[in-house]
């Protein structure tokens, strides 16, 4: 059985390759000047630059958090380059035909040919190659519905009133170390606005990909769902193989106004490092949504990549009767470390939240669930249910659970439960007795373990997620 485990764990990173595209990249280092240059390249208005500089100054006062159950070498923030753009982007392509063919091939290798996606899936794609949005499709169809879906750098120019009002309203610049860094140096990301009472006609999607060596990616996403609107947003990412650690410190802000619904789904498959834990992405992400009266925010994530993950998609349930959901599958193998979970802050009356978290650890990895459920004094009649399950594969890995429960309202009900187990010999025996080979059996058992989360994913993503897990776990238990 050990052989099978070894074989499975030595799986090479499928998306590991480097595209040879010339890039314009800043020299490593971070100071006020770098921020001014980023701002100037984006031709940003004065207020945006001021905002960045303020964030930068608070970041300098802050300390890198150390409470997470992860262990990595200290990051030298002066050794990182804070801007990189594919050169062929200087003259922005007007359509897919104008896009650098090398770039398109990169996407094809990843299995997401844009044209195919447009035609087959009916998905509008705002693809991010390194730090500049390459192409945005289906704009017109969205425009008809009044939906704004564009790079955030464009929104700063075209919709300054919305950006000014909501940027930093959910994750303020001083929120935490990585969020402050993102505020100072973010290069691009997506901006979505769904007008009142509108149901977004298609699933919105961004494809992130880190390419240039030594460049951190600092994406910034802002989604505003106006009263009574509805949107489903997909985010997926893979990254080429690298030997040096790459920092990814994104910020995602969701604003769901009264009666609005936002569903945010992520499949994350950044490069996890090699068998010895060399290289791999540091994924330090701040994701948070604010739900007003009767609004609903739903986070679904499938996390299989990154060397170190530090990520807690959260909901602030501010309005009465608002709903927060968090569905997560996190898989770690080799020497990956993940510290992920959610925060549900119940402020309004009759707010409800559900947390379903499935952690799978294999190899020598460590997988932690860290969550907070807080019932504030005003959360009359609020309700939370949390279920965290961990599955251990092999005796060299770790699975941990750190749930914080804080209740200050007597009428609120909080329930938390967690279990840890392994793929049992009985389950394996039963499957093998029925003629399944060990690989299939494990894949089936793990898929069953994650079913509650997968069913929350949009169809296209559910397929991708299932495939990711299958590849990761081929024959790793017996």
């Amino acid at each position: 059985m050990t052989e099978q485990i070894d074989k499975a764990l030595k799986r090479e990173y499928e998306a590991g390759f480097v595209s040879a595209i010339e890039s314009e990249t800043f020299a490593p280092g971070l100071d006020e000047d770098v921020i001014r240059r980023i701002s100037a390249m984006k031709e940003e208005p004065e207020w945006m630059l001021d905002w960045r500089l303020k964030a930068y100054h608070s970041w300098r006062e802050m300390e890198e958090p150390e409470w997470a159950h992860v262990d990595y070498e200290k990051i030298d923030y002066q050794a990182i380059s804070y801007y990189s753009a594919p050169k062929s982007m200087k003259d922005k392509p007007k359509s897919l035909d104008e896009v650098d063919p090398e770039l398109l091939r990169t996407y094809e290798k990843l299995g997401i040919p844009l044209i195919e996606q447009q035609m087959l899936a009916g998905v509008a794609v705002d693809a991010v190659f390194d730090s500049v949005s390459v192409v945005t499709t289906f704009r017109e169809k969205l425009a008809e519905a009044g939906v704004i879906f564009c790079p955030i750098s464009e929104a700063v120019h075209k919709h300054p009133e919305l950006v000014k009002k909501y940027l930093g309203s959910v994750v303020p610049p001083k929120d935490n170390f990585f969020a402050a860094l993102n505020c100072a140096v973010f290069t691009d990301g997506s901006f979505v606005y769904i007008p009142k009472g509108t149901r977004c006609p298609m699933e919105l999607s961004t494809y992130f990909r880190i390419n240039e060596q030594n460049t951190g990616q600092f994406e910034r996403t802002l989604i505003i769902a106006d009263e009574g609107s509805h949107v489903s947003y997909l985010e997926g990412c893979t990254a080429p193989q690298r030997d040096e650690n790459q920092l990814h410190a994104a910020v995602v802000e969701l604003v769901a106004l009264d009666d609005a619904q936002i569903k945010y789904s992520t499949v994350q498959n950044w490069y996890p490092g090699d068998e010895e834990g060399r290289g791999g992405i540091y994924n330090f992400v701040t994701k948070r949504g604010i739900a007003h009266h009767r609004a609903k925010i739903s986070w679904t994530q499938v996390e299989t990549g990154s060397a170190v993950t530090w990520k807690y998609p959260s909901c602030i349930l501010k309005g009465d009767d608002s709903v927060g959901e968090f569905y997560s599958v996190a898989l770690t193998r080799a020497k990956q470390q993940a510290d992920t979970g959610t925060k549900m802050i119940h402020l309004g009356k009759n707010t409800r939240s559900t947390i379903i978290s499935k952690g799978i650890s294999a190899g020598r990895s460590n997988n932690s669930y860290r969550g907070l459920v807080r019932m504030n004094p005003g959360a009359e009649g609020a309700r939370n249910f949390t279920q965290c399950d961990s599955l251990l594969i092999g005796d060299q890995c770790g699975a941990h659970t750190f749930p914080y429960v804080e209740s200050r309202n007597a009428s609120a009900i909080v329930e938390h439960e967690a279990t840890t187990s392994k793929v049992s010999d009985d389950q394996m025996f039963l499957c093998r007795q029925r003629g399944l080979d060990p690989e299939k059996a494990v894949s089936m058992i793990v898929n069953g373990f994650c079913k509650e989360v997968f069913k929350e994913l949009p169809m296209e993503f559910a397929v991708e997620a299932g495939k990711l897990l299958e590849i990761s776990l081929e024959g790793s238990v017996g």
């Binding site: 961990s390 429960v405 209740s407 967690a418």
Partner: protein, 413 residues
Amino acid sequence: MSAWLDMALNGAPINDSLVSQRQQSLALLRAARWPNRKVEAWKYTPVRALEQIDYSAANQSTAARGVDAVEGLSAIELVLINGVPQAIAGELPAGLQVRALSEGEAIAGELFGSVKPSRHIFGLVNDVLAADGWVIDVAPGVQIETPLRIVYRTTEAAQAHGRVLVRLGDKSRLTVIEQAEGTEPSMSTYFSEFSVGVGAHLEHYRFALQTGAAMSVGGCHVLLAERSELHSTLVGFGSDLSRLDVDVIHGGEFASAKVNAIYLLDGRELFDLHSTIEHACANGTTEENVRGIAGGQSKAVFNGRIHIHRHAQKTLAELNNRNLLLTSGAEINTKPELEIYADDVRCAHGATVAETDKGALYYLQSRGISRSQAQIMLNFGFINELVDAMPNAALAQWLRPQLRARFAQMGDA
């Protein structure tokens, strides 16, 4: 650091046979971070109140006051008044040795700090300042039928530190009741360490019943050898500052631990229970049940950590924490933690926080029972399961009226 600590440490450490261990702890203490909101183990429990007190060793009186006996329980009474051991009445059974810590027996040196982890900051304070206490040794194979009842008494305006060290020889059996109570303004640290031998059985109780201005930070730390057993019951009321750290370390295979805990809070009280179960060896079992009720503007904190080490395969560990929040002014903070490094284990934990079931209240009221009486009945029912599980019936009998009185008081608030 803390002005209180600086004052308390004045003249420390005590120059006795334990001086080298005390010095080590002093060094650790000076290097440690003093509790504040950013120190994870003290996130919810402020110790600011310590800075306002001016209790000193000078106030210590050892004026003995009779210890209230527990009806129906014939126990060997070991009394510490402000940390100073009082004379033991009567004969000790054969195979049981009880000495004062200050007598400087060799066994004290062996046990002192051998079980208690050094991360407990007030445990370090106790290492440095506890001049006296009890050292208890049970010879191998001896079954002591009479329980030992250790009473921690802190007098008004006193600052007291006491230490209890217990060794159970292989295949021996012992019952230890640790009881701390009082409402007078005071500050105390009482820490106990138990080394349970191969196949030995320890029945343990800790009643942390200080209320009002009686501040207390204490701990019980148990090391279980192969095939040994622990049955522990912890009961806590809250005070201006009341904190209990419990460690159970499975240091041998096939050890089993059962820990039941109850905390009942009212007024502006605070109670903080931190329990850590370390499964360092294979085939161990742990079952932990914690129930809490918070009324008034009180604040309850529970942190229950289960840590399964790499080689602790075939471990079974369960932790269950259920809480009743009676009023919206009160606050419950709970964090059951699992940290698991072995794959062939079964671990689970659960935590709930809710108010009393309205349907049950209504039902009782519809049967002519007043609301406050119904509330008391339901509260009592919530924790009685754990009181019933106490192996010592006389002790359970003694505890019930106290809990009932507590509930009546909580109902009034």
